[in-house]
Symmetry: C2
Subunit: 405 residues, 2 copies
């Protein structure tokens, strides 16, 4: 008997038949003697529909109202699943963010969880109830509804698993695990049976869509074993876990790409202290995440500063940067929305030299020009022209022999 958190994504709850399928999986695990907390996303496409609705009535919808609007999708799936489970003769109860209490800060659309009150859930589990929690949503201390950002249901699930000290957090999705590359664009991609938190984190940050990066951070922090698997088969799965001795330290474990990138260059800006701070402070105030930042070597006291933001935030970021650029006397601000980021990830990188060189030559071999480079201990990312994305992924997958174990 174990305490299990099961999270089902949008494609797993996309319609009533799929919800019935989820119910059967939940019941099977319940009948095996487990205590179960189910976390659900909204039906695939529903959150997007709600977002569009909000943007139809306002360019910049009020954050508080926006979150209360887009969180309704999960209310639908959790209540429907609970109705199905009750019909099947099981005690089941849906809990929304404010009912659990999943307390967050008040950063609407990207709130962070402060605290999860486990009392209500534990009380229900003791009664044998299957607890069905609405993912993606929380509540601030004043009772305002907040949401946790794209893929936030992963974070809900891992946070609940951590708070409840669950034995495992199963993330059910439409793929059967984590792959060495996106199988949709790389034919030879191979499923990994295990991956370390750090690698998973870098992959998620670098564009792998399977898990929200924050959920992996949380899983790492609280050492929650996360098992990524398909809700449509019983095969496969990838365990995201601590790096341990059994784990082969692969030099490179995966290639990822992220098309949600846009490049901003502040051209010919005086190279003196405080300039970067002046550029990035307004972006931070507007909650715009800056990804890569590159500053060229100074030439005659001037430099170019290039950085990337999410494509959705390019317009706003451009406006903000243009204002500052004027104040600090920069030549001009150039933007490019047709770029993508390609990354290779692997804990073994630290102890192997020549990984970066191999990456650059593989790209050069295909005629792909590198626009920006950034490295971490276990990751190398390159910004390239978007049209080369598939080509670059396949070339790197081959170069590092990822199709072979």
């Amino acid at each position: 008997m174990a305490l299990v958190v099961q999270k089902y994504g949008g494609s797993s709850v996309a319609d009533i038949n799929k919800l019935e399928n989820v119910a059967r999986r939940v019941v099977k695990s319940k009948e095996a003697g487990n205590d179960i907390i189910v976390v659900l996303s909204a039906m695939a496409g529903e959150t997007d529909r709600l977002i569009q609705l909000a943007h139809k009535v306002a360019d910049e919808p009020d954050g508080r109202e926006y979150d209360a609007l887009i969180s309704t999708g999960e209310q639908l799936t959790v209540t429907l699943l609970s109705i199905i489970l009750n019909r099947m003769g099981f005690r089941a109860k849906s809990l929304l963010g404010y009912q659990v209490k999943i307390v967050t800060d008040r950063s609407y659309t990207k709130a962070r969880i402060f605290h999860i009150d486990t009392k209500k859930i534990c009380k229900e589990l003791k009664k044998g109830t299957i607890v069905v929690v609405a993912g993606f949503q929380g509540v601030d201390k004043d009772g305002n509804i907040t949401t946790l950002g794209r893929g936030g249901s992963d974070t809900s699930a891992v946070a609940l698993a951590a708070a409840l000290k669950a034995d495992v957090c199963d993330i059910y999705t439409d793929v059967d695990g984590i792959y060495t590359a996106d199988p949709n664009i790389c034919r030879k991609a191979r499923r990994l049976s295990r991956i370390s938190y750090d690698e998973m984190l870098e992959m998620a940050r670098a564009g792998a869509k399977v898990l929200q990066p924050r959920s992996v951070e949380l899983a790492k922090k609280y050492e929650v074993p996360v098992y990524v698997r398909s809700s449509f088969t019983n095969e496969g799965g990838t365990l995201v876990t601590k790096e341990d001795v059994e784990m082969e330290r692969e030099v490179v474990c995966g290639v990822t790409y992220d098309r949600d990138q846009a490049k901003i260059t502040v051209v010919r800006v005086a190279d003196r202290p405080g300039i970067a701070a002046r550029l990035f402070t307004p972006l931070a105030h507007h909650n715009i995440m800056v990804d890569m930042i590159i500053q060229n070597a100074s030439l005659e006291g001037y430099t170019d500063l290039t950085f990337t933001v999410s494509r959705k935030e390019l317009k706003k970021a451009h406006e903000l940067v243009q204002e500052v650029a004027k104040e600090i006397g920069a030549d001009r601000v150039a933007i490019d929305a047709d770029v993508s980021k390609i990354s290779i990830i692997g804990v073994g990188m630290i102890s192997h030299s020549g990984v970066a060189a191999k990456m650059f030559s593989a790209l050069a071999g295909e005629g792909v020009n590198i626009l920006m480079i950034s490295t971490s201990e276990i990751k190398i990312s390159c910004v390239i022209q978007e049209k080369y994305t598939e080509l670059a992924v396949t070339a790197l997958h081959d170069a590092f022999g990822l199709d072979k174990r």
Copy 2:
């Protein structure tokens, strides 16, 4: 400057254009210097869609989950309207049942309001906020979402107006007031400029769909002036108010019909004490509302007992009654779903004789057979075969000269 509650029904918020229209009306009243609480229904058809969804997955959906599901429609409209109002430069905030706190009992699908906490609303009004409250929903003392039954948003609005001691409660709908009969089936129907709470109550109970009966009870109890008007024009309107000297005591002020009727007859049951209690107790336990009850004069110690229920509840009621009928040795149970109820209403009835006789002859004149009769001080209702509904309404409207002032 006044404190105004404005309630907009499903047809007034049916799409984004209509929500923009509502926003303009709200703003107009706000700019006139009023403090405004807006109460919204779900978009027309949305609650029905959610109800169907629930019934697709279970014949008898769990009540708690059902209410949490069907209350999402209002969450959509209140957040969208608040986004629009904010975009227009006004402070606006949506509040759900649990956020206000509209505390109800736990009778899911037909909860009754115990208490409304006005603190949060008053605080927001003081800041100049337009407060947009989700109609139809409340919360029990343990934080479970409840709903107030069909048309419950009317009750939300009147209850808020009562709790806040509002100057007026405007009920915006797709008709421009209360008519002497349904204009869709009675060409000569005339709009009333005023109607008393008691008459409105009987009309609502007797099938007039404009206001939920409970909202009228509340309005009467707390003397809330309710103004029924169209959200599409500025003309017309009917004030529902205390009966006062100015008010012409019309003998009959309106004719209503209700097709949501089904008749159950327990045939040849022993006429002894306790039989009725045994028949109706199980119905009450299943929250089935019994409308008219008629017991024939006893013949040789036996009697027939006939009553009506909502058509939706006929199946369940029939099952329950059949069980009891067997136990108490009744001959059999007959049902008829093809009936409707026709009523005439008027406070003047009390002081005028011959009203009933006139009603019966008008029906007889058209060859309409009367299956059941029930009377109150200000109402006479007849159950007839459903196919005669339109005919009966028109005949009674003519007989009582309702087209003339």
